[in-house]
Symmetry: C2
Subunit: 407 residues, 2 copies
């Protein structure tokens, strides 16, 4: 069955049954295809008798976005699987285990996480994740440090760079995040009630210069193996557990891109809160938690990263006095800039977030979009000159203060 | 004959004769091996009757440096040849033509440049190269621009990055330029009369921080396909013609690394001048020409680079107001920093330059080394904060003013 074709449900069950030692030999397996069908097939195979399961993810040779279809290399399944394996090696409790794979079929067989919820959904429902910042901070510190020139042999790292050359998926990022939102592009997708805000981006030369500089970093700074798409929809969570999935955008880029993605998506949720008919008290409590989480994500990243550096750095030169502080400052600045860019594109660009698009009241949805744009543009402007993570909360609070619609 | 083995003279002649349309069919070819034997064999095959010739370069599977031998991948012959072909495509008059190659034998057959002289030798002899700055400025602008995200499709560029992953040769650069000179490394190689100056580098935390930042750029900033070893020994020249050879260190790195290499080697020659029994008038004339050449190299690079950008940039985002100026400023700063690092390593590190090491008078040789170190360290310190190429001449003149030995 090795020539590429989309798996049937029966083939998925047969493949699952063939994984050694996973299911009982006489298990009666059931299967559901649970993917969104845009980029991948995702089969959930379970033994209902004992609740055991596994996931089979298969890449499709095209992407479907707003009805259009464009070809995508199946090699991204290899990239995603190899990234999963590397990330699992550095953070085994935070990444699903890979049980098996077939590169020709573009298939990865991996751990079943169906006891977890997509974190974006949980956040929308007001779920608290008290351990998330600690988990994701450690995930990012480990995976970024140990795949960089700081934490691994510099010659082996060069081979890793070649291994994760990922043109198709990088093009999506380059276009949708760093280009389309800043001009009148047919790929943009925004509601007419924020047209004025969108068009303002196209004529803001100061902002566009910062975006050009961020884009340049994304294109050229091969610092570490990034997840590459680390939003709250790529995270499965429970209050006790965090699992990072779907690294098909993995490639070597600037560390701040991943950290910025996490923070941007927390702030998009922050911007959306007034749309959800909460009491003022609950609204303020949730927003307070989100801003604390933003700072905590950074602080856990930073403390883990510095600890790994002090313990395991392989580069003699990196022990130079003052260098670690400058390196961390660079990551912080990149993080803030990329967080801003990632917020803006979710409002004006092709691909949105449910946090905001599911707000039913049109005026409140518009307000949430404007708040997100206000925070996003302020972060982009601030990034290159920032000196502390606390600047983010100040910017977010300012946007909240200026909200127009009465609750 | 395709399994790897070092070519014999007879095999070199047979290979030369087999190149279609180059030599007359009944030509009596003569051959000399003219390589330095450290890294490569170089055969010069000529037809003495009509003066026609060609070069066969074959990589050896090891490097011999100061008697030691370490293994080097033969893949560097492919990298060198592919870099030559790309550079020749963008600057056909400034790079030798490749006639043929054999990757298994690690062989490239190319244009004979025996009417040219190695520029380092010419400079030592006081030869003037009035067109050099113009030529090398155009060479660097074209090869760097068109291999970067500015001048080529960004997805194809990523494949190029993978094509030029060059771990063995990069390791030489990383160790010998950015690491060994700044600690008590067995790879260092300096005369006892400058021990104090060498040891001062090991304890200069401010300087070492700048070196760590330059090293980070070298390791991570995949801006353009660099030559990677662009010193005056990699350039064949006459007063009318310039040919850039030997790009076996080619890889994707920061543009300023190549420009800095050219400038460093002009300044090493500048530092050496008092060692050559010149009249004061001739000394001053030569030094004046060298400083003019340094500025002119940069200015020709910059004007060509901006012209290519304005005409051929493929990246929409790069047209943002103010971006080109910031990009050029970044290259200038990198150029100055890398120039400094390249000077320091030629005095304290493993590999020296004939400009200085052939000075017979010990005191004058020591003075030249100290001047080179003074200029080199000042450039490294200045790089990150520089705003004009003229700062280099000011630094070089200051070093000349402080020379101790009376002429």
């Amino acid at each position: 069955m090795s020539q590429y074709h989309p798996l049937s449900l029966d083939e998925a069950v047969a493949l699952a049954q063939s994984i050694p030692g996973h299911f009982r030999e006489d298990a009666e397996l059931s299967v559901r295809e649970i993917g969104d069908g845009n980029l991948n097939l995702v089969f959930h195979v379970t033994d209902e008798a004992d609740g055991k399961g596994l996931i089979i993810k298969q890449a499709l040779p095209y992407a479907k976005v707003v009805g259009e279809s464009w070809p995508l290399s199946l090699d991204r399944a290899r990239i995603e699987r190899e990234a999963l394996q590397i990330q699992h090696a550095y953070a085994p409790d935070l990444v699903p285990a890979v049980y098996s794979y077939d590169d020709e079929l573009a298939i990865t067989v991996m751990e079943d996480l169906s006891d977890h919820t997509i974190m974006r959904k949980g956040l929308i429902e007001g779920q608290e994740y008290p351990l998330f910042a600690k988990h994701i901070g450690r995930f990012m510190a480990s995976t970024l440090f140990y795949t960089s020139d700081l934490g691994m042999n510099q010659q082996e790292k060069k081979l890793r760079v070649a291994q994760f050359i990922n043109p198709d998926l990088c093009k999506i990022t380059e276009d949708l995040i760093f280009e389309d939102p800043y001009r009148d592009s047919p790929n943009n997708n925004f509601s007419e009630d924020i047209r004025q805000d969108a068009e303002a981006l196209w004529h803001d030369d100061e902002l566009r210069l910062e975006i050009a500089l961020l884009r340049e970093k994304f294109l050229t700074h091969a610092e570490a193996l990034l997840h590459g798409d680390l939003h709250t929809g790529s995270i499965f969570a429970t209050p006790d557990s965090t699992k990072v999935i779907d690294p098909e955008f993995a490639y070597y880029g600037p560390m701040g891109f991943d950290i910025g993605a996490v923070i941007a998506n927390l702030l998009l949720n922050y911007a959306a809160q007034p749309g959800w008919s909460l009491s003022l008290e609950e609204l303020q409590a949730r927003r307070g938690r989100l801003l604390q989480m933003v700072e905590s994500v950074w602080r856990h990243f930073e403390s883990n990263f510095r600890e790994l550096w002090n313990r395991d750095v392989v580069d003699v030169t990196a022990r130079t006095a003052g260098y670690q502080d400058m390196y961390v400052q660079k990551i912080l600045r990149d993080t803030i800039g990329f967080a801003g860019a990632k917020m803006i594109r979710r409002i004006v660009g092709l691909s949105h977030v449910a946090d905001i698009d599911t707000i039913e009241d049109a005026a409140l949805q518009r307000q949430a979009k404007q708040a997100a744009l206000q925070i996003g543009t302020a972060l982009v402007r601030r990034g290159r000159f920032a000196s502390s993570i606390e600047e983010i909360a100040a910017i977010a609070k300012q946007a909240a203060k200026e909200e127009q619609v009465t609750l």
